[in-house]
């Protein structure tokens, strides 16, 4: 039966890889601009990392080391499924350690550890168009980008302030890239927006279903939209990570019981593990989760 279906290195055929690489080069040349791409299926479902997956599929080489992140963690569904896929079709090494990876595919988090030059962070993007929920038509939004007509976005942010006293956007918080294009940073919590600013790493954003690729080249300005009297702010957590005691990192809330009990732990599991290996202990750091961690 194996004779009736076989696959190329990195899954995609070479023509398609070339097409995607051309789109990536264009995206790098025009930071924040959404480069259209032809519709190519990936063997994972749309909405589950095809856009991100195409990035690695097109640029991966035998020497690359791939890390997957889903919601910050290394073994949640996408992170647990995408690196093994490339290990299978491209025979590359995979890792959970941010520092060791050359390509990191992520679903909605930027690692806490500072990225370095030479690394590529590939974001999975569900809806690449930051203006989509203000204007559903692609024909219109492309025009708005072309004319740098972003007034609607500022009105939306202003309406938030008028209604809630603050900008009520907590993730997929719009940014302006290199002073030109307003860009959706993918649904990462706005906590991660500052990490995108002048990063040493190349940041690629792939939207498979919507067929767009865009990029933030290294050292590029990524500025979150705000107003002078309502400056952009990131989330703050009132307590440190219960396992490793980290502060100033993004935390997940874990529900402990049905009486409102909860704890907060690092969203970035690699960061948390590295800290615990280095001897940092949080308030619940000796909880039995270490033994469950198999």
């Amino acid at each position: 039966m194996s004779a009736i279906a076989s696959y190329n290195f990195g899954y995609l055929d070479e023509q398609t890889k070339r097409m995607i690489r051309r789109a990536i080069l264009k995206a790098i040349a025009i930071p924040g601009y959404q480069v259209p791409l032809a519709s190519r299926e990936m063997p994972m479902p749309y909405g589950w990392g095809t856009g991100g997956g195409r990035g690695p599929a097109a640029i991966i080489g035998p020497a690359d080391v791939l890390k997957g992140i889903d919601q910050g963690a290394d073994d949640t569904p996408n992170a647990g499924s995408i690196p093994p896929f490339f290990a299978k079709v491209a025979r590359v090494e995979t890792t959970t350690r941010t520092a060791d990876a050359t390509i990191i595919q992520t679903r909605h988090r930027v690692p806490e550890e500072k990225l370095r030059a030479g690394q590529v962070l590939v974001y999975q993007v569900p809806i690449p168009e930051p203006l989509r929920f203000l204007e559903p038509r692609e024909t219109e939004t492309r025009k708005m980008h072309a004319l740098e007509e972003y007034g609607l976005m500022h009105v939306k942010l202003y309406e938030d302030i008028a209604r809630h006293g603050e900008i009520a956007t907590t993730y997929a918080y719009p940014v302006k890239v290199a002073g030109r294009y307003v860009m959706d940073p993918s649904p990462t919590p706005k906590f991660d927006n500052p990490k995108m600013h002048r990063s040493d790493a190349l940041q690629l954003f792939g939207a498979g279903r919507e067929k767009r690729i865009y990029a933030v080249p290294p050292h590029t300005d990524v500025v979150s939209l705000d107003f002078e009297d309502h400056p952009f702010e990131v989330q703050h957590f009132s307590e440190p990570c219960a396992l490793c005691g980290a502060e100033g990192v993004y935390l997940d809330e874990v529900v402990l019981d049905d009486r409102g009990g909860h704890m907060f732990v690092c969203s970035d599991t690699d960061h948390c593990e590295t800290r615990r290996a280095d001897g940092h202990v949080g308030a619940l750091g000796t909880s039995p989760m270490e033994s469950a961690d198999v």
Partner: protein
């Protein structure tokens, strides 16, 4: 207390083992063979080939088996294989006028050259469950005697009198939305490709909506034909076209009303459907949608969903749709955490404001 922070990878591997087990089902029941699926679930195979955009019965059957009969999942498997195949050429247009016909019906003429030929249709069957089909006691159908007479397309007959708009000259190599970025507004070639790959249920509902007054196009089923056509590839090195084999297709030509305008006298217009295999419902729905989507080209008011190209084409692909709808079950706790924090703070502020008001 156990905190499930890790463990996803092992859980996923276990789930896949369980899936493989459930897919196979009771081991005392013989495993299905691909030829059984190809022969006895032929219309499922046809749908997987059509919406999977890959004409290969055996691969489609494998996909259906692997998908436990879930056709959208099977279509996805076929697509994800098709996308890896290099493209080595573009065939000549297939000539459906020279189809080896198994079924051909026209709702517009009682009799016509080539005749009405019902073929293997569910039409006129009584939908009564029939246990008698179990087993092998089905008698072989007799073949149609004699040579088939030429069967010109109904639209060609109408075109002789100029009653229907011309088919249009070929535009050279058609576009391919799997190779070139999709941009709106689209040309009809790309739109037809998108419709041919589109979800049968979605197009059926949209086509139905045009019959119920949402973009009424007064359609007649000019003709539906099912049969085999040759696929020919022009080989530049040889200087002539060679036959690659034949495929079975279903073609539907809808004949629709058009009142005419200052430049054009009243005439019929066309809606076109063409699908791999035997897929009559899909071909008819596709033809209705094609005609509705020509509203802009024909200067009609765009008032209904079926006429809205961006709406229809952006949402007709079931592989895309199922992926994005089902991705909602993926973890979203990072974003949910962000919303949770915001809602808690907004509620606290609201409470404080209410308390302050009460105190005043």
């Amino acid at each position: 207390m156990y905190v499930a922070v890790k463990g996803g990878e092992a859980a996923i591997a276990n789930a896949h083992r369980l899936l493989a087990d459930r897919r196979r089902g009771d081991r005392s029941v013989p495993a299905l063979r691909l030829d059984q699926i190809v022969e006895q679930l032929a219309l499922s195979v046809d749908r997987a080939m059509g919406e999977g955009s890959l004409y290969d019965r055996e691969l489609a059957a494998l996909a259906i088996l692997q998908a436990r009969g879930d056709l959208v999942e099977a279509i996805f498997l076929v697509r994800a294989y098709r996308t890896t195949l290099p493209r080595f050429g573009v065939s000549e247009p297939i000539e459906t006028g020279r189809m080896r016909i198994e079924r051909r019906v026209s709702a517009t003429f009682k009799d016509l050259p080539g005749g009405q030929l019902l073929g293997p249709t569910f039409d006129y069957t009584h939908r009564l469950l029939d246990p008698a089909i179990l087993g092998d006691g089905v008698e072989a159908a007799s073949r149609r005697p004699g040579e088939a007479e030429p069967t010109p397309r109904v639209t060609d007959l109408l075109a002789h009198e100029g009653l229907i708009e011309p088919d249009g000259e070929g535009m050279g190599e058609p576009g391919d939305l799997t190779r070139e970025p999709l941009q709106f507004p689209m040309n009809r070639d790309l739109r037809l490709q998108a419709l041919a790959r589109g979800d049968e249920g979605f197009l059926l509902a949209l086509g139905y909506s045009t019959q119920r007054g949402y973009a009424r196009t007064h359609p007649f089923a000019g003709e539906i034909r099912i049969g085999e056509v040759d696929v020919r590839l022009d080989v530049p090195e040889l200087g002539f076209a060679v036959s690659l084999g034949h495929i079975r297709v279903t073609e539907c030509q809808m004949v629709n009303q058009f009142k005419g305008n200052a430049e054009t006298p009243p005439q019929f217009t066309r809606g076109y459907g063409l699908v791999f295999g035997q897929a009559e419902r899909k071909a008819m729905a596709m033809a209705l949608c094609d005609r509705a989507l020509r509203a802009r080209e024909l200067g009609e008011d765009i008032t209904a969903p079926a006429q809205d190209e961006e709406f229809v084409i952006s949402h007709s692909d079931n592989v895309q749709a199922t992926g994005f709808v089902e991705h909602l079950k993926l973890p979203h706790y990072v974003d949910f955490q962000a919303e949770l924090g915001l809602i808690r703070r907004l509620r606290a502020e609201h409470e404080a404001a209410v308390a302050e008001e009460a105190a005043e």
